[in-house]
């Protein structure tokens, strides 16, 4: 039995993920392309993991620690901001009862944002509890 090396395993994952990406994304309608862009944008914030992994290794000097903290902060902005802003956009697409209902147009641009508590543990960002 042949045991695949780490490199080939990872390359296989890479290629398959590429094909899955093409298939899944091709089904997204034009209407949702802006949320899609911002959602996938949030997903590549996963580089945050890279920062966490490297900062967890021993032997990082002071300068390394500084750039890694910046990297983690950048990654977190990417993830948290990306998912939140996508959630805000998509909330607006939720079908509403036609015409009638309350919520007049007075509710300006920001009021529709999700309501959860947001801060603190941060990763669980899209505030599942909200509405």
């Amino acid at each position: 039995m042949i045991i695949a090396s780490t490199l080939t395993t990872n390359l296989a994952i890479l290629v398959l993920a590429g094909f899955i990406g093409f298939v899944v994304i091709s089904k997204v309608p034009n209407t949702l392309h802006t949320p899609l862009m911002s959602g996938t944008n949030a997903i590549h914030g996963i580089v945050l993991l890279g920062g966490l992994l490297v900062v967890g290794l021993s032997g990082n000097g002071t300068f390394n620690k500084i750039i890694l903290v910046i990297a983690i902060a950048f990654g977190t902005i990417n993830v948290v901001g990306g998912f939140l802003v996508t959630d805000r956009m998509l909330e607006m697409f939720k079908s509403k009862p036609r015409a009638g209902s309350v919520s007049g147009s007075a509710s300006g641009s920001k009021s529709r944002s999700v309501s959860g508590s947001g801060g603190g543990s941060s990763q669980d960002d899209s505030s599942e509890g909200g509405s």
Binding site: T9, I25, M37, T40, V55, F63, M92
Partner: protein, 477 residues
């Protein structure tokens, strides 16, 4: 299944398989989440599923981290949250493209910083497998290009720096090529065994300059395509980081983003009738740089202007009205006014729908977001292919701040720069009302024949006040 490579051996605990399972769950959730984005009803949940996947991936990683560095991790995450949450909450929907650019930029920034720290930690990739070195270097270059390019894109859209193309003229292509070649050469040198940090920094600087040099010459109109392209770049660099760090979640997530970014970039370029290389070459559209207004002079035809009162009467007695919104509507923040107008028309049993061009607004689908924000029901929004056959039985098309996407020249005039671009066939409808600030041409810098069509009436003015006036007039009929 997923063996580990030497540099990480110390940090991975004995339960590697468990962690791998968590990562696999995480990327399965990403894929499931993105599948949810295929429809407006499942999209919110889809995004949240992806967010849960992200949370699982982060927790799995934290299980792995050395005790000593919790303070640093907490610091990074807290700073990121404090910056990211308010930004995401407060950004206006019209400013969404630059927000995406900014988030994309920080992602790219994280990638090249991680790669740099790896370089330092391993004393210049000493005793690191060559393929890991290569993927790290790829991540560093692409991440750096993405970071700087995205920041420039943000600056242009936010109008911190001028939106018009800033070029070095004919030397631009050579400069770009030299910067690219230098960055690659530095990378090859390091992969070949040079451990000098100055070379690595030089590579980052070349990549940074390249990011600036590529995006600065691109006009505001093409910027969303660039953002999408840079989004794909950041995704690919994240995937490369994943291979370097042997992390399957990073590989899958990064690659999916790479794929989606490529698809989106291509779709956008097609919808704008532009090729991606031509966009990268830059110099098109935006600001005052109007290029070759070919055939502009031949329109001796007259423009008929109308008043809000006349427009209101025309609309009130129509059976079917199609609203064609463009970026002009968004900048005037007129979407709520448009919604009020729609309500007023619906009271009179007028059938109203919205025809949305794929690149209306500043990004594909941007207009849908803006209209959804104004509570326009999703089922009234018609995509181009569904909207076009309907124009023939439309009494009045109301074009609000849209220009090039309605230009019949794209169908009729082979010499036009936009010839071949898919358009909304507004001129098929019985009559057309165009709300526009002036006769200035749009981004592409071309005259719009539609305005000279005898059945077209122009209502000059700011989109928001013009629409409000029509609504007020309607109420009095």
């Amino acid at each position: 299944m997923l063996a580990i490579h030497p540099p990480l051996a110390t940090s991975f605990l004995q339960d590697q398989s468990f962690l791998d399972v968590l990562y696999i769950i995480a990327f399965a959730l990403f894929i499931q989440g993105l599948r949810g984005l295929s429809g407006p009803t499942t999209a919110v949940r889809g995004n949240r599923i992806a967010a849960v996947g992200m949370a699982i991936a982060v927790i799995a990683t934290l299980l792995n981290v050395n005790e000593g560095n919790w303070g640093l991790i907490a610091l990074g995450i807290v700073v990121g949250t404090v910056v990211g949450v308010p930004a995401a909450r407060q950004v206006k929907m019209t400013a969404m493209p630059q927000m995406v650019a900014l988030f994309n930029g920080v992602g790219g920034g994280a990638v090249f910083l991680i790669s740099w720290s790896e370089f330092r930690l391993t004393s210049g990739f000493t005793s690191t497998a060559t393929y890991i070195t290569i993927f790290s270097l790829f991540a560093a270059i692409v991440g750096s290009v993405s970071f700087w390019g995205s920041n420039i894109a943000f600056g242009k859209l936010q109008e911190v720096i001028p939106g018009r193309p800033i070029t070095l003229g004919s030397a631009q292509q050579y400069v770009n090529f030299v910067l690219f070649a230098l960055a690659v050469a530095a990378g090859v040198d390091i992969a070949g065994g040079d451990h000098t940090e100055a070379i690595f920094i030089g590579m980052l600087v070349c990549a940074a300059l390249l990011g600036n040099a590529v995006v600065l010459p691109i006009g505001g109109a093409d910027m969303p395509v660039v953002i999408s392209l840079l989004n794909a770049f950041t995704g690919l660099s994240a995937a490369a980081t994943g291979i370097a760090l042997n992390n399957p979640a990073l590989i899958v997530a990064g690659m999916i983003v790479g794929a989606s970014g490529s698809i989106l970039t291509n779709l956008m370029a097609t919808a704008m009738n532009r090729s991606i290389p031509a966009i990268i070459a830059g110099g098109f559209g935006g600001g005052g740089a109007v290029e070759g207004a070919s055939g502009a002079g031949e329109h001796a035809g007259t423009v008929r202007s109308t008043s809000a009162a006349d427009a209101a009467i025309q609309l009130a007695y129509a059976n079917r009205v199609v609203i064609v919104p463009g970026y002009g509507m968004a900048v005037a923040q007129a979407q709520h006014a448009v919604r009020e107008l729609t309500k007023e028309l619906e009271k009179r049993q007028v059938e109203v729908s919205y025809a949305i061009h794929p690149v209306a607004g500043r990004m594909p689908g941007h207009m849908n977001v803006l209209l959804a924000e104004a509570d326009v029901p999703y089922d009234q929004l018609k995509e181009m292919d569904d909207a076009n056959p309907e124009f023939q039985r439309t009494d009045v098309s109301l074009v609000i701040g849209a220009n090039d996407v309605t230009n019949p020249a794209a169908k009729n005039t082979p010499s036009s720069p936009i010839y071949g671009m898919p358009i909304l066939e507004v001129s098929d409808s019985h009559s057309v009302i165009v709300i526009k600030r002036s006769m200035n041409p749009g981004f592409a810098g071309i005259e719009n024949e539609l305005y000279y069509d005898p059945k077209t009436a122009m209502l000059f003015g700011d989109a928001k006040s013009a629409v409000s006036e029509i609504t007020a007039e309607l109420a009095q009929i």
